[in-house]
Subunit: 177 residues, 4 copies
């Protein structure tokens, strides 16, 4: 089944893709996460699922996070950060959310693979994951994998900056599973 070949393709692509992320953009993303009151995430399809994994880890780190369109998500406002991801940079529903968040004075970080995304002017920071369109994997898999790994790296850095212990993180983890 060429499992070994597929594995190598994925790892090589992911390694290159992760390295392509601008370290300055990553650093600015980290700063915005640290100074935000609450963090909201939004996206579509598999990108959304990766951001949900990010939002869940942020809770473990003690940051108050929410997923747009989940049941208990409150109103966003000044001091809050919205993190959106869209490979194409053009997903209609995501653009609609961006506009609304800007209207409500939220800080916005837009993670995309596109060199010409169509975000509103209200976006504070664009984090580009370049080069994923030439992937040999299925559809936007490489974008989604890179998004997960990138956010996990950011969380590892956050842990150090927030000085959260492993013990505390385990205490913050859902316990009705």
């Amino acid at each position: 089944m060429d499992f070994d070949k597929n594995r190598k393709i994925a790892l090589r692509e992911l390694s290159e893709s992760l390295s392509n992320i601008n370290e300055k953009e990553a650093g600015e993303f980290l700063d915005r996460l640290l100074k935000s009151r609450r963090i909201f995430v939004a996206g579509a399809g598999r990108s959304m699922l990766m951001l949900q994994a990010f939002a869940q880890r942020l809770r473990h780190l003690g940051k108050e996070s929410y997923v747009v369109a989940e049941t208990v998500t409150p109103a966003i406002g000044k001091g809050d950060l919205l993190v959106v991801a869209s490979g194409s940079g053009k997903t209609g529903g995501v653009i609609n959310i961006l506009k609304l968040a800007g209207k409500h004075k939220a800080d916005i970080v837009f993670i995309t693979a596109s060199s010409s995304p169509s975000p509103e002017k209200t976006v504070s920071l664009i984090v580009t994951i370049p080069g994923v369109f030439s992937s040999r994997q299925l559809m936007a898999s490489l974008f989604e994998q890179t998004l997960l790994l990138f956010c996990d790296n950011i969380c590892l850095a956050l842990k150090g900056r927030l000085k959260v212990s492993e013990t505390q993180m385990r205490k913050n983890h859902a316990n009705l599973e």
Copy 2:
């Protein structure tokens, strides 16, 4: 299509079912909601959807609520209230959650149609919605309708007790839709 006949059946059943709820149980439920730090809801299928509607309204009223198994749900603990609903009173996944919540010292309210539910001894209050099994509607529809209306009635009472204004409720409403 007998739309008018169906409508009358549903309304008559719902009216009777709502009236069957013990006012003392309702009052105790309200008290537990008021004194709890945070409120978690859990269930399966359509009962779960009704409790999600309840959790969302609690947020509008300024109460911190969470849905078990959604992305950002934290660890439950002492001072928190878990509200579970199960028509049959025997849903396996729900019973599993009850046990865990008891272990973590949460207060538990169990809403059920069963006269002999199988909850753990840790349940603090059982709210019974009696008589729904003889419904002429589909499956557990009457239980679910009564659950929605009952929780909406409770929220109306909560609004008075918490002295929340309509304006404040609208401010608490999600604004990225």
Copy 3:
């Protein structure tokens, strides 16, 4: 806690609101459900939760249904029916979905409380739930309650038309709960 008073208010309002639905609109909704290949539902907040309850019941009745933005939802197309609900008739995300569904040639039913909704011209049928704005209940509760009851009535009629037995419905019910 005025539980008894609240109960009566809710039941009286709901009874009136359900009666206000035009029987011809209900009949046409039923016909469109019967002839559609697959049914998709979309909305925001508590209206969405009520439509999810509807989608789940449709599955019990043997109709292939999907919830927009859930994990496994396929592409919509000709022969499919999209059911959307918005009390105000103006929810931005919902309007965006309407536009896309129209582009993909889906049949569209729009359930709303508004006498002047802003749907695209592609909407095939508007079902109006009139008079809910004067409700004494919280926010759009009356719209949401009426939506649940209305869809449950429609499902009861569907059962007769599709000649599905209770036994078959129970077999179609999720069994990993």
Copy 4:
């Protein structure tokens, strides 16, 4: 922020973890996916999100997939495959689902990091992701990353076996976003 260091740690760990997966187990997983009528996924927390990403991709590949506890999930039965993931191999809710699926004669694949998981005897295949407990990343991140990449590799192999074109996959993709 040590972003570059974290990136290298994650990639090195992921590369090793992916290589640790037994190719025979992967091949057998692929075979079971191919011969199954429908595929259901279940898990908790971030592992669940990774399996949801898998279920979504399966739909793109034309396989009928469902997520346990989502709105439209039907009853599982003979001929269906349940894929569950649990790092610890001991998540209570997951074990409950395993039992039920076994009772309903479903084929079961259990993906875990544990060398002594506690699955029911009904599990047909265990895919082990070994060595993730010594990770320097946060909590079970390495398990979750490996799970995503592994399932993506499996999907790449599936595409070849099912002879699905990129064009067809794009047609299967949700179009109301």
